[in-house]
Amino acid sequence: FSTFPASPKWRKTHLTYRIVNYTLDLSENAVDSAIERALRVWEEVTPLTFTRIYEGEADIMITFSVREHGDFIPFDGPGQVLAHAFAPGQGILGDAHFDDDEQWTEDTAGINLFLVAAHELGHSLGLYHSDNPEALMYPIYDTSKDLPRFRLSQDDVKGIQSLYGPPPASPADPVVPTESVPPVPGTPATCNPDLSFDAISTLRGEILFFKDRYFWRKHMNVLEPEFHSISTFWPSLPFNIDAAYEVTSKDTVFIFKGKQFWAIRGNEAQAGYPKRIHTLGFPPTISKIDAAISDKEEKKTYFFAENKYWRFDERKWSMDPGFPKLITEDFPGIGPKVDAVFEAFGFFYFSSGSSQMEFDPNAKRVTRILKSNSWFNC
């Protein structure tokens, strides 16, 4: 691998990006997904995180353009140069430009946008070209890579970690709970008594417990949970999610992070996402959801944010009037704030830090207090 001269790099780990315009070759959702997945490639192996912004100057401005496009390095029409990007820094530095005279595609029929974006964003983060043909940062476009299960080469990983180091260790004890994933420093420990969760959701009869970049997959009939990286199943999903819930009638799990939400069905991310949470009817002041659960009998979703909750009508696809209300008002013993919630055996299980409250929604009372990881057969 190599870096730019003087090895410029970002002096912060939380970066912003903005998709300034779109190619007509692909749907906007397809472009969004390709860029998000490309960022995730680098996010997975560094302490870097990326937040999308929709206006103003982002650290990484992403544009599609043809020929001369304002940086004195014109594109060359179809073929040959596909894109270019600048080393980290202010203004145009860090930006990624894509030649819209190429035929951009989601597959390899044309030029695969994800693959090119992942390469260009490597430049945006400070990597220059590699002379290793296996590397993503090799300058020649190569579709022989396994795109559905794309992984960086060791050369790319060494390169980017020479600038930013490895991902941060989890506060939990770095012990690997099962053999589902290889031992990676920073993996949260299944039986750590202080374990808390980012989000919990059911999925086709199983329970998914999300934490950082990982999730545990617990089947009721199997004692030991499986442990996986989120990106193994859903490469386009973000890490460190805020909330998740399943709508069984739609066979869909909705995943929330910040002001956006995604939809997955099995291990397929659904087209048309992410969407903005405000399209659900939240006021502009709400910037994230803490937890969510769908009541399949009532066809209502309960969204929890800070010390309040909203009720959403899944049939009308709109918020019920009269909300938000205080959590403590209708869920006595819960809150004031929750991390995650899911339903099992007719009970709601609220997780807050390392504690879990079993709540009977009919009796409206807490029936048991457990450890958050009580489902893991510790």
Partner: protein, 82 residues
């Protein structure tokens, strides 16, 4: 006709290669034309540098393998000199 076409093809190949080396291997513009090529020339050195970097056999010649690789789609990231 065949001769003229051959000359034109060779010229366009050399123009392409010169532009390629200028764009991606920091070959100084206008230092030399290909017809003055000799082993020690900056152009040949740049061809060798490129062949080495791209994992090709280092010949200093614009052979078919080299030209094929140079015609593949690639990243046009601005080089350090820009």
């Amino acid at each position: 006709y065949p001769l003229a076409r051959g000359v034109r093809n060779r010229d366009s190949t050399m123009d392409f290669a010169q532009n390629y080396l200028e764009n991606y291997y920091n070959l100084a513009k206008d230092v030399e034309k290909f017809f003055r090529r000799k082993d020690s020339s900056p152009v040949v050195k740049k061809i060798k540098e490129m062949q080495s970097f791209l994992g090709l056999k280092v010949t200093g010649q614009l052979d078919s393998d080299t030209m094929e690789m140079m015609h593949k789609p690639r990243c046009g990231v601005p080089d350090v000199g820009h």
